[in-house]
Symmetry: C2
């Protein structure tokens, strides 16, 4: 399957096990998928490689048969060994060109960009999206640059041909505004992971995305 | 090149940049190679993936043309992207079977074993050596099991068909005893990284290895 052609990025869950309120990650992910999340990124900054691989394999077996790609954060070896659909890299991770070579031509490769300069550079790579990070200030990640804000997102959309995944501080009450400002995708961590009802949280985000002003269009 | 057939494991340097007394890692590695180290493992537990890859590429370009393999600790993706000769995994890293699949049939794959049970299990894998860890108690790694000791090493040699890389607490003054007890390889971190003269330290270890009692034989 060529995941690059068939992924619905409107609501994109990025995981954080520590924010799942003690619930198994798999339960939270499956609830989000039922609610309409179309892509899931597994992010593990403290797990051993073996634990990371086991988590990845479990999620791949549950969501990829449903047509939902699992995208692994940073570790191409984990992505390859688990048969995950894609890889997400940041500016301190594998360079995007190396990520693409390792993952092959049909895998999803995404790249975080934190500045307009990085956004421009990203056009040179064979990637599927850029993660504009952070859109708003957020407690989930503290090592981030100045937020893009809605104005920065609008400017990015005006100049970039790339699919724009907005991440950082997106919640139900600002999701429509982020979509209106030009995001092709709403990526969230705590909004779903820490939601009392992750399925409902995903459903609301999808509804907010779809209520954006029509002239922005889908990607 | 099939590194599996042409590697001299007698003196095996495992790196730790923090123990290099402020000297560039590359300088320490090249000195060790001049002194006779026949294999080098790059171990980076705190570097970003990008920094890890850059270090790996620099070392690959310097030592592999000399016939010395660079073996990457834990990260198969870094090994593949850098063109490194091999991968070393621990019991919490990628499972050896996955490591072999990712690295391909001609790469070196090594596995750490900390107990006789793990040593026995290791026979099932397509690996090039096991790292018996630790042979002696050592301040370099604190998360380790009971040391194998010389008796444990002798017993391992008596029952295992695998190439045995001894690691942990090996110094110039016990190196000959470790080789005599049956190690096919002396792996060291601080003995070379923190040596005033890493080249001389490697040379002495090689000499100590070669002075072992002849009946043990080379692998």
């Amino acid at each position: 399957m060529n995941w690059r052609l068939h992924t619905d990025y409107r609501v994109y869950l990025v995981t954080d096990r520590e924010l799942c309120l003690g619930r198994p990650l798999e339960d939270v992910v499956l609830a989000a998928v039922r609610g309409g999340a179309g892509a899931v990124q597994l992010r593990e900054k403290h797990a051993s490689s073996r634990e990371f691989l086991e988590l990845a394999r479990a999620l791949v077996s549950r969501i990829q048969p449903l047509g939902i790609p699992l995208i692994i954060n940073d570790r191409a070896d984990i992505a390859l060994a688990a048969g995950a659909a894609g890889l997400h890299v940041g500016q301190s991770d594998l360079p995007p060109a190396d990520a693409r070579l390792l993952m092959g031509p049909e895998a999803i490769v995404g790249l975080s960009v934190e500045t307009p300069e990085e956004l421009k550079e990203a056009e040179a790579y064979d990637i599927d999206y850029v993660g504009l990070s952070p859109v708003f200030a957020t407690p989930t990640k503290t090592d981030t640059h100045t937020p893009w804000g809605l104005e920065g997102l609008r400017a990015a959309r005006a100049i970039s041909p790339l699919r724009l995944v907005a991440i950082g501080g997106i919640h139900n009450d600002n999701a429509a505004a982020v979509a209106e400002a030009g995001a092709h995708s709403l990526a969230v961590v705590s909004e779903i992971c820490s939601a009392e009802d992750p399925e409902e949280a995903a459903r609301r985000l999808l509804a907010a995305f779809d209520c954006r002003t029509p002239q922005q269009g889908a990607f």
